[in-house]
Assembly symmetry: C2
Homo-oligomer: 388 residues x 2
């Protein structure tokens, strides 16, 4: 049993979205196929993944050093102790050969993407959904039937006013979602507050609305917004600071009582540890939003969870970044707080299985082996084109 080839293509997202900091017009993502020699129904089993949303494609790192390291390893050295499947931890260790400490993001995205594709393959070899494999290994076999799922929406767009925002939210509510995120910080505060009031009016309560500043604010703006938003009691306030500005985060948690969410732009276990040690976040309410495929993948995520647990943080505090099937499998398998969704944005790269159902804010799971991209026609067509 071995990995025989790993292929990558860079695909443009072709999105006209904008948050408070940047637009996605140039954004690309790397789609990866990890091809094995394990045959099923006459075809080799293949693991797939992509590098989530918001970081550019990273094929050169894969091709110039990460893939050659994996393919040059003695195949048996990448198998588990029973030689019954590939061991993602060993593949991760192999990719980390000759890597200097620190400087994570240059490699954490390509490594994490390949590692998640390896997990897709591992679950397909085991002929089980990935969430089931993860639940067995990391959560005492406990598998939920449905998963809390909220909409990461409320984007800024040319010509999009309060009426259009409300229309967007109504259509999400009609689709079965009960919690929705709205972008803030890309308009003057008074206008953002009008957008927020309009959003609450549609969804019903402030507890059903999160707001996301995408790290747009300097200290002055962050303090001004946090003071204005505090009385609302929102579901959460996301990225009110630069992702690495732990001192400012601690200043905000000093007076902002409602939950704060962050960490989609931290990519290593040590960065998350710094956030928890120095950022003043509160384990009884605040939300950690690691993007797993961008942060060295699932094995490293399990180590981050161990570190968090040692600091008295619970798994329910984690809502991973990235509204896609990879995240859904991870949330279900590890028993995390919930999953993000991006209906109708980021093209083929957003969304879940075509037959998935959202009801009362909960999304169901499919029983397809692996991550289940095979149930997402448009995306899977793109993935298959790599190996055609």
């Amino acid at each position: 049993m071995k990995i025989v080839e790993i292929r990558e293509i860079s695909v443009p997202l072709k999105s006209s979205l904008r948050n408070s900091v940047f637009d996605f017009s140039e954004m690309t993502t790397s789609v990866v196929a990890v091809i094995s020699d394990v045959m099923r129904s006459g075809k080799p089993l293949i693991g797939y993944a992509f590098n989530s949303t918001g970081r550019y494609a990273c094929g050169e790192q894969m091709r110039s050093r990460l893939i050659p390291r994996i393919l040059s390893a003695e195949p048996d050295s990448l198998l588990d102790s029973q030689a019954s499947n590939i061991d993602p931890a060993k593949v991760l260790a192999r990719m980390m050969l000759r890597e200097k400490p620190g400087g994570h993001t240059e490699r954490s995205v390509p490594i994490g993407t390949i590692e998640v594709a390896v997990w897709d393959l591992v679950a397909k070899i085991a002929d089980k959904p990935l969430y089931a494999v993860l639940a067995e290994r990391f959560n005492h076999g406990h598998i939920p039937t449905t998963i809390p799922c909220y909409v990461g929406g409320g984007w800024y767009a040319p010509g999009k006013g309060v009426a259009e925002l409300q229309a967007e939210m109504r259509s999400r509510k009609d689709e079965g979602y009960t919690v929705m995120k709205v972008k803030v910080g890309g308009a003057p505060l008074t206008e953002d507050l009008k957008r927020l009031d309009a959003a609450i009016e549609v969804m019903g309560s402030a507890n059903q609305i999160a707001v996301d500043a995408n790290a747009a604010w300097n200290r002055e703006s962050a303090l001004q917004y946090a003071k204005a938003l505090a009385p609302y009691g929102l579901r959460w306030l996301e990225e009110p600071t630069d992702p690495l500005d732990y001192a400012l985060m601690a200043e905000l948690t000093g007076f902002y009582e409602a939950p704060i969410a962050t960490a989609e732009n931290l990519f290593s276990t040590q960065d998350i540890r710094n956030l928890l040690q120095f950022g003043g976040l509160r384990s009884d309410r605040d939300i950690i939003q690691i993007d797993v495929p961008q942060s060295y993948g699932i094995t490293q995520f399990s180590r981050t969870l161990e570190m968090m647990q040692a600091l008295d943080w619970q798994r329910k505090s984690v809502y991973p970044h990235g509204g896609n099937l990879m995240t859904l499998a991870i949330v279900a398998g590890f028993g995390l707080g919930g999953c993000e969704a991006y209906p109708d944005v980021f093209g083929a790269f957003a969304g879940f299985a075509d037959d998935s159902v959202v009801e009362n804010g909960m999304i169901n799971l499919s029983d397809r082996p692996g991550i289940g991209f095979e149930g997402q026609e448009k995306l899977f067509g793109l993935m298959q084109s790599i190996t055609a």
Copy 2:
């Protein structure tokens, strides 16, 4: 006046060196040429740089998004207010278009390398050495005549024992160096202490020896080594912790009295700020070792220095990582503490002008325009091959 083309090639370092954490056998670097339409002696002026040492080549980021952003800008929008030269700050801002907050290293290395090459071009357009241009803009025009320069050496190598280490140090001493760094953490503590004693014997005093752990240690080893090393009163102890582990650094500075050095593996102003705010470092003795071309370049470095000054840190505390002409120009231009040298390692990418002289631990400056790569025959031949 405009930038007409930017080219990049990836070059292997072909080094057999090893520190306590990794070897350089796969290491590559990106060499960049920024070609202008400014003619001098019948040829276009070209700025050059490379992405320092220890991080892999990064041409795909350059080609897929950074270079197209620069070349698609209105040329006049990248000039200074008198339109008399290119403005590196505007080139930097242009490269940062559509970049998400955080996740620095994936772009800080390619952006910094291009930005330093732009500074080489700017100084050539001004027909002055880069250090003179930097001194005018950032250090009241003060230009030193010679620069403190120490050897980053004492590497582990197959078959290299105490006798070979002493031979290496004697030859550096004969070349005119007075301070030398020795790698530690790649051998058992007792063996490393023997290497250290032997090194001190050659150089004359513990104040002439720094040791470098390259972030190899976990907490237990770091505490053990720091306790063993504390009585020596070494010049400095470098990277005793993971580069991002500020809590452990604060623990060490609680009892280790002699200077500690770190930061070659931090790549953003905010990471350096976190180090200074949470790492317990002492501005009266500790050493900050930013690698400028790997950290968004010279403009951003000037902002990091401003931030450091606001926290009561002096420029003399900065010894940038990277023993090359880029670092030498930056140390001389900003009035920093000193420069690193790597005699005979990293092939063409280490070292200074072929006619440079080291005397009593001080290196001289050339008066060549720009960074002065033209005086480093082997490296400049490689750089010229890009535009041939």
